[in-house]
Structure formats: structure tokens, C-alpha cells
Amino acid sequence: MALDSKTPQGPLKDKWTNHKNKINLVNPANKRLIDVIIVGTGLAGGSAAATLAELGYNVKAFCFQDSPRRAHSIAAQGGINAAKNYQGDGDSTYRLFYDTVKGGDYRSREANVYRLAEVSANIIDQCVAQGVPFARDYGGLLDNRSFGGVLVSRTFYAKGQTGQQLLLGAYSAMNRQIGRGKIKMYNRHEMLDVVVVDGKARGIIARNLVTGEIERHSAHAVVLGTGGYGNVFFLSTNAMGSNVTAAWKAHKRGAYFANPCYTQIHPTCIPVSGDHQSKLTLMSESLRNDGRIWVPKHKKDVDAIRNKTLKPTALKEEDRDYYLERRYPAFGNLVPRDVASRAAKERCDAGFGVNATGEAVYLDFASAIERYGKEQAQVKHLDQNDAALVKKLGQEVVKNKYGNLFQMYEKIVDENPYETPMMIYPAVHYTMGGIWVDYNLQTTIPGLYAIGEANFSDHGANRLGASALMQGLADGYFVLPYTIGDYLSHDIRTGPISTQTKEFEAAENKVKSEIEHLVNNKGTKPVDYFHKRLGKIMWNKCGMARNEKELKQAIEEISALRAEFWKEVRIPGTANEFNEELAKAGRVADFLELGELFAKDALVREESAGGHFRDEYQTPEGEAMRRKEFQFVSAWEYKGEPKNAVLHKEALTYENIEVKERSYK
């Protein structure tokens, strides 16, 4: 099948408006006759569910958590971008568009990104109207901060809990519709297959995680807002339950999977402490507004710090290497995430890591504390030369901005980051790849849509900070509710979709037989044993730097591990009860397939772009080297085993932006 992005014709800035003006609408009375299933209740799924219900559709929403409020969007810390230009620093829709395309290393679709920038301002208006308590300044107006890869302040925030506040906003909008009966909410339910009838997505098979019952649910369209697949690495900043299952099942039913190798490794996470580790914790990128990243200049100081004979605070300024400021003077500590992560890896690989494992760099707030302290002393007419006073005043300012993050750090590491620099290291955080969608966010299965992190569309090969929240809410509040109407307008005479058909029966039987196999398997090892091994392969061979030899090894190793999993996994208990091991086993089984496709995609992409870095393709200074012949989206079609997947290419054309070397120097 040829890929058609369905990007509207006409000038970039008019595409979305013209498209909205021309697509079909559904009459309010007919919306009552149409059902929509939404899987996932994070920012994308939650906002879409609320908006579609407000429009009058009958929504059925599903989440595996015990409440929609617990979706992992809740953990997003730093902020949400919007081209409001409230700071008067030259921001505009075009600049947000430009920054996002450049930040994505020219691997995203122009028209999608422009639309994202266009609706970004509406998101802030909508959230404030819902009662989202964004940070404000003393004049009562909204405050902004800066994020990586941009030269303006366009990030709106609510301390280090922006994701929580935005998600609770979407959750409140959902609650209003649940109360009205327009959304039927299915908590503790996991989608295990998409049902396709006559070529169209018409429902899902879901497992009730409390009773174990397998249920059929039908609708006129199905929307996946099921997040990313970072947990294929086992250790990531994702929640324990975050998984690829819904997206992968859709892929197996015919939805192409795009750019699986584009993964964001976030530069500022708390380093791994031991084998018991179950997940990694992010320290928000917003900290790089005020924190300076460094390692010692000299190996002897590294050794002394590792032996704890030298405190980092005692190391003189001239003996420190602020390597981001050194290498990237224009953007300094606020370079994009892929660049910052690779730079940290480069220093640690060279032997300058500051903890026992050699995999940590410092994120230091001493200069910011002093700068803010002096400013406060000036404002309060106090002595700017009183170092103790300045430090105290500065710490208060830093606490107001990042208090919850500092507290999180202290609880995990047992060190006080107000007194000694934080130790950080890159960790898997976000996946730019995902289900391929066209301009309308529809997948290659008619009637199946993918929104938020679950799709591939807007971030190219690297996502800029504070853009995930923007994209999730843009898709759910302002894009999907229009585009899905165009599709549903053909369904006004269809009537309710029956679940008593051979397609539903076949899908249900398939799900049941897989579950039966897992619970009756006579293996000896828990699910985590396999998941951790998969994670090690992914991190070592498909992580921050990749090469042909190791990718080929990864493909073989993952394939062998998958075979071993199906033979050796042990699931206690039965299928007809609350059984977390069973749920985990199903998710890991899918990760074991996705992981192989991931490595295959990375192998085929013989260039470096954004989060995908191939050792063979770098500039003499060690920067990513893009290649013109790879200016396309890789969209994989399922053909049985991952090794048989077929590659389709969507060419990327840039008519409104000049493709050039991505420099932050």
C-alpha cells in the first residue's frame, strides 16, 4: 500500500484552516448514534474523550490504571510550550514551528508541526478556563520559563508538576462527561486486540484486570492514546505499567509502525544505583534553566571525587569542565536533549564520570543560588556581600521554582542538592516513533486513530522539552475531534456495531488462546527476568550510540530471548482473577517483538539524526551526520516475524524551511 499523508494543498499557514472548512461534519442529532472507543486516558486520550463527549458522541474510555487520573502524563514535570509571546521576546507560530522541525533534526512532517504550533496557544486558554493553576507572577499574569533548543521563553508551567495539573484538567473535563453519562469509563481494563470488520476498525477486545474476564466492545471508530514504548528498555522514566501492547496489537492488525528506533534519552535523570532498580527518575529539563552541567577537567580530581577524598564543592572553578557551555556557547546548558545526552556519554566514556560506576555528571545550582540570592538582597535592601545571607535567600528562590524536584532527589539519593551538586545521567524517557498516521491522525487501518506519544507524527528524530504535553493536548482537544468527524460522517446510517460477529469471535479466541498458553506454561522464571535481559540488550546495543555490528547482534539476541521467554516463563495463579504477572507477561511478549523491529529500523537507517546516533555516521567533531537519502519516514508493515517486516517510505519535503546543519554552537 502506498503511503498517503493526505496533507492538504495550499500555503502552510492556511492548510489547517482550509482543511477544517472543507471536511465533512456530523449533525448533532447524528452524533448521538455514533460510538467511539478511546484507549488510554492520558493527556491525549483524556482530552479527546472529553471533547468528543462534549460534541455529543458516545464515548467508551479504557485505562489499565484504577482511575484515568493516574495515566503517566501525570508525571511530566517541566512544562508545556505555546507560542503566546507573552514575554515579548519574539516568539511566534512560525518560530515554534521552526524550532520543532529543527529540534527534530528535519525528520518530521512540516504541515503537522505547523498545525501543532498554530493550536498551541488555544491549549493554554483552554486549560486556564478549566482551572489549571499555572505559575503566575506578582502581577497575576502567567509566567514562563525556557526549555532546551530554543531562544525564547514559551514554556508554561506549574512548578515541577505541570503534567499532573494538565492531566487533572483533562480528567476534570472527562468527569463532567462521565457524570452526564456521555463517557462510559472502564478502569482496570487492558486492550488486547483491535477488531477489524470489512477493513475498518470496529472495536476492541479488552481484559478486565480485576476479574480476568475477556470482553468485546464495539464502536464506529477506535482511538489509541496509549503512550510510548520506552519500557522496552526495562529501565526508563516511564511508569511500571506503560507498555506497547495496544499499539503493537494494532500493528499486527495492519497499522504501520513508524520510526521505531527514534528514542529520546533524557540527559538529566538520577543514575542507576543497583541491580534491584525498577525504574529511573527524571529531573526536569527546566533545571537546566538554572543548573550548570560539569565534570572535573583532570582525571586525578575524578579519582579523588570517586574515592570521596574530594568534595565537588571544593573543586576550583578553573578545574571544572562545563562541557556544554564549552562546546555549545550559543545554547549552553539549554541544548536539546539528544545533544546533551550524547555529550554526557562522551565525557563519561572518556573516564570523567563522577560516581562509583563512572556514569554520572554534575548538575550544579551554586551559581544560580548566588545569582538569585544577590538579586533578592538587592530587592530587600540587604547586604549583598553577606555570603550566608545571599545563599539562604537564593535557596528560597530555587526552592520556590523546583522544590518538589529537589525533594524527590533527596529522598532517592539521600544527599541535599541545595548543598552539593546533583548527580545525573541520561535515561530512556520518550519515544518519538510510534504508529504511522496521516494528517488526520488516522492509521493505515481506516477508523483506527493514534494520538499523543502513541503516534509518530510531530517530533521527528528528537522531541524538544515541553512539547509532549503540547502535542498530546493538541491532538486530543483540537485536532482529532475535527478530523474524526470527517470519517464518522459516513457512518451516520450504520447503526450500532454488533459484537456477535465472526471477527469479534476470532479476535477473542486469539486473545484467550495466548492467555491460556501463558498461564499453563511450565516454565521456571518470572517475567521480569526476561524483561531485564531485553532491557540490557536494548541499552547496550540500541541505546545512545548504535553500530551495524551490534544492531545485528541485538536482532539475533532478541529473537532468541523471545523463543526462550515463551518456553521458560512462569505465571502463577489463573487467568480468571487479578493476576499482575499475567498482565506483565503479555506486555513483555509484545516488547520482545517490538525490540527486534526497533533494532532492524536502526540498522536500516544508515545515518545519524536526533536521538538515533550511528557510530559510522558522525562529523569529525562527533556531531550527528544526517544523510539526504534518508529524508523519509520509515513505516513498517507487519508480516509475521519482525524480521519479515516490510519497509514503506514516506518522503519528507521541506517547502517552508531550509534543511541545513543542525547547529547549537
Binding site: H72, A129, P133
Partner: protein, 248 residues
């Protein structure tokens, strides 16, 4: 560290349930409490036993899933943390640790340490929102300036993670801290004023219907709240309720 764990095991809602003893060794002080339970579960599965079921997800203190009553305290002995942020360095070698689910009539046990907290969702359905449709034509976000002090207080109330520690800690199993946090967030913002009367009446009514107890101002909820939600919110909700009730 070597520890003795006394864990509540209950097969399902209809089972009576009991405390079961487990021994666990080689516990590192850098482990989180839930990672310690992961190790226990891994050992149980390898032996062919059923693992202990508990709710958890983000493991960074924000999703509100984890909900353990540890040695008689919601989220354990540390302050301002959830169970997933509690680390084993708070315990010492040879300790015996009791681990139980939240106990409240409105939170029935589903399995082992997992309880059903959908009563909280139903209270939010009754009024935990501002009725504004998505349109793209909402007024500009800066059209109404909001005093920073009010915005900050609204934010503090809005940081509630809905974990239920307040209910579990309260001798009356009252949900007043949880409900008042949402009522306060909207009461402090101009956008929340229009529906203020209905909101507080409907939410309090639903809270009573769910079978939560009354508030007797003991303050245990505030002490155990992992997000430090203040009792002031309960006072504010009482004022809101009185005003609304008088308006009728």
C-alpha cells in the same frame, strides 16, 4: 538487611484475609520499599507461590497508585512521601514490618494490598470540574489576572494525588481532606466561582453517599498526606458549604 514482613493476604473481596509472615534477606538500604517487595515477589514466583498484589505505577510519587499501610502509618514512617518514594534506609536490620491495605468501608479490598478507590472518582464526577467546553475560542489565558497568593494556594490544593492516605489515616475514614482540596482549588480561582454553590453541595452529598465518615478535626490526614495538603482546605470547604447551604 534481613527483615520479617507481616503482609495482609486476601484472595479477593469475599475472602476473609489474614496476615502471613515472610523472611527477606539482602535488602539494600538504597532500595525503595516497592523494590524490596519486587524482590520478595520474584522469590515467591520462583518458588511457585503467588506474589503479593499491590497497586503501583509511576514509582516517583505522583500517580497516587501506591497505597500501603506500613507499621500502622499510611505510606510508612517517612513524611511527605508516597510508599514508592520510601527507601529501605528508613529501616534497620532485623526489623519486623507490618504491611496492610488502606482500611475503610468506602475502599473495599480487591486483592491483598489493593483496594477499590473508585468512590473518589465518583465524588469528582459529581462536581470536580468547571463546565467549559473545548472550543478554541475560550478567552485569552491572561484576560483575568489572578493574585499570585491565590494562584499559589489553588496550586497547593491541586497537588493532591488522590491516593487515599487521608481516608486510611482518619479514625472516621473521612474523605474531607481529599474533597476539600478540589473544592478549594476552584474556590480560589475566578473561573471556579460560577458553579461554586452546586459544586460543594454535590461533592459533599456524593462523599456522604459513598460511606465516608465525618470530620472531627483530628488532623491525622494532614500529617500523613504525602503532598502536605493543608487542613485549611477543610475549613475553606466548610465555609463554602455553609454559604451554599444558606443560599439553598
Amino acid at each position: 538487611m534481613n527483615l520479617t514482613l507481616k503482609i495482609w493476604r486476601q484472595k479477593d473481596a469475599s475472602d476473609k484475609g489474614k496476615i502471613v509472615d515472610y523472611q527477606i534477606g539482602n535488602v539494600s538500604p538504597d532500595m525503595s520499599f516497592l523494590e524490596m517487595l519486587d524482590v520478595l515477589n520474584s522469590e515467591l514466583i520462583t518458588k511457585g507461590d503467588e506474589p503479593v498484589a499491590f497497586d503501583h505505577d509511576c514509582r516517583e510519587g505522583i500517580c497516587g497508585s501506591c497505597s500501603l499501610y506500613i507499621n500502622g502509618e499510611a505510606h510508612g514512617p517517612d513524611r511527605l512521601v508516597t510508599t514508592c518514594q520510601l527507601h529501605m534506609r528508613k529501616f534497620k536490620d532485623g526489623d519486623t514490618i507490618f504491611i496492610e491495605p488502606w482500611r475503610a468501608k468506602a475502599f473495599p479490598v480487591i486483592k491483598d494490598l489493593i483496594v477499590d478507590r473508585t468512590a473518589f472518582d465518583r465524588i469528582q464526577h459529581a462536581g470536580g470540574f468547571i463546565s467549559v467546553n473545548t472550543s478554541g475560542n475560550t478567552q485569552d489565558a491572561n484576560a483575568i489576572p489572578i493574585e499570585k497568593a491565590d494562584a499559589d494556594k489553588a496550586f497547593d490544593a491541586a497537588t493532591c494525588i488522590g491516593c487515599g492516605a487521608c481516608v486510611a489515616s482518619c479514625k472516621n475514614s473521612s474523605a474531607m481532606l481529599f474533597v476539600s482540596a478540589k473544592v478549594s482549588q476552584f474556590a480560589l480561582l475566578p473561573q471556579g466561582q460560577v458553579e461554586a454553590t452546586d459544586r460543594v453541595l454535590n461533592m459533599v452529598n456524593q462523599m456522604d453517599e459513598e460511606g465516608f465518615g465525618n470530620c472531627t478535626n483530628t488532623g491525622a490526614c494532614e500529617v500523613e498526606c504525602p503532598k502536605g495538603i493543608s487542613l485549611e482546605n477543610i475549613a475553606r470547604m466548610n465555609r463554602e458549604f455553609l454559604t451554599a447551604a444558606l443560599k439553598g
